[in-house]
């Protein structure tokens, strides 16, 4: 049987792991997916250790050769579409038993990985309109009226637009959330000058709901439950820091506005 080289296999597994982690996947899912890939490419003897910021993978062919690689994960963002795509590809690879040759499988995997990695997200206007919708409908959900809904739509649209540019700056998650929360309060307070009879708190809460770290909370719990204590703790701390960022940002802006006016 024509077997794939051990370096190539570990390269493919690391690339899969990198894409899942960068899109905000849970670490036990990364370990599971890398294990499935290594088994279906003919290296069942593999060990991996994944943290939210890096992947360690060690592969062995059972005889003399051993390959260990480390991959550092830089930026992380939320992209649930990529996670779904990758698990579909890996499950195809696992269940598809017809091609015995592992080269066919690796070519299929490599082309799919390249396609997923370079996949474009939704165009910017869809993203902004969705941000506006999320903010506006959360405002209605928490008891806002129609005029407050309109203001929340504008706030959500502007914040979603500016988040795109703020996240290009080299700053960490805390500062990013704090800046975004400050912008929400600033825009809402500015609109309040011209539009009378609106309650600002429901509008600001609608805006804040765009930023809440739901993904980090879910990942922290699922990682801890599956025994990944390191990853679970790290994600939990990330969620707390993001929440503190939101509170600090909006609180600081409220206070500044109060002092200034």
């Amino acid at each position: 049987m024509n077997k794939l080289s051990i370096q190539h296999c570990s390269k493919l597994a690391l690339k899969t792991g990198r894409i899942i982690l960068e899109s905000g996947g849970a670490t036990n899912r990364v370990e599971l997916m890398m294990k499935k890939i290594c088994i279906s490419l003919g290296y069942p003897d593999c060990e991996s250790f994944v943290t939210p910021t890096g992947i360690f993978l060690s592969l062995s062919d059972g005889e003399s050769e051993l390959s260990t690689s480390i991959k550092r994960i830089g930026q992380r963002r939320i992209d649930l579409g990529k996670i779904t795509e990758i698990s579909r590809v890996v499950n195809c690879l696992e269940t598809d038993s017809s091609p015995k040759n592992s080269h066919n499988k690796s070519e299929y995997l490599e082309s799919e990985l390249n396609r997923i990695d370079t996949q474009k997200p939704y165009p910017m206007w869809v993203n902004n309109v969705c941000g506006a919708a999320t903010s506006g409908f959360f405002c209605l959900l928490f008891g806002g009226s129609w005029s407050e809904f309109g203001v929340a739509l504008i706030v959500g649209f502007l914040v979603a637009t500016s988040l795109k540019y703020i996240s290009k700056l080299p700053i960490n998650g805390f500062l990013l959330n704090a800046l975004a929360a400050m912008l929400i309060v600033l825009i809402a307070k500015t609109i309040d000058i011209w539009v009378p009879f609106i309650r600002l708190d429901v509008i600001i809460i609608g805006g804040i709901m765009i930023l809440v770290p739901g993904l980090q909370i879910v990942n922290a719990i699922r990682d801890t439950m599956s025994g990944d204590l390191v990853a679970g703790t790290a994600r939990g701390v990330e969620a707390i820091i993001m929440t503190v960022g939101i509170v600090a940002g909006s609180g600081a802006m409220l206070k500044i506005w109060e002092l200034w006016s």
Binding site: T84, S87, I246
Partner: protein, 151 residues
């Protein structure tokens, strides 16, 4: 507010549309978007209905998140999608952003005791959400293992 009236239906629609926006923003594609939005609406509506009958906030958060997580586990298996993709979007309406904001506002306004009560609420609600997710995930794991053992 009575359960199962027009107002609950409206609230269901708002939660549905809000989660629709949220899941599109996190780049989810295809028919799954509709199912996550449905789950978000289900989560919020069941919270309101259970809150009416039990009058206990934490119990209704727990039960609503459990219902939403069971829904996600079923739908994710039908659509061959990772379960966490659904759970992430579905729990968003109950994440305590509102209590957090009011706590911060009370603190800035100098009402420290109200602020600490609200902060405690935030901690209790997020703890309850975590426990509900953990309970459902563990129960499903156990169920799968038992089924594998029997067959």
């Amino acid at each position: 507010m009575r359960p199962f009236d027009f107002l609950t239906l409206m609230q269901f629609c708002w939660a549905f549309l809000a989660i629709l926006g949220f899941s599109l923003r996190s780049n989810l594609r295809g028919i799954r978007v509709l199912f996550t939005a449905l789950g978000g609406g289900l989560c919020w509506a069941s919270y309101l209905v259970i809150l009416y009958y039990t009058e206990s906030m934490l119990l209704s958060v727990f039960l609503a998140i459990s219902i939403a997580c069971i829904y996600s586990e079923i739908v994710a298996r039908l659509m061959h999608t990772p379960v966490s993709v659904f759970v992430i979007c579905v729990i968003i309406p109950l994440v305590p952003g509102r209590s957090l904001y009011y706590a911060m506002q009370a603190y800035i306004g100098g009402q420290s005791s109200l602020a600490s009560k609200l902060i405690f609420d935030v901690l209790m609600i997020s703890g309850t959400i975590s426990i509900a997710i953990a309970v459902v995930a563990s129960a499903v794991q156990l169920w799968i293992r038992l089924k594998a053992d029997i067959s």
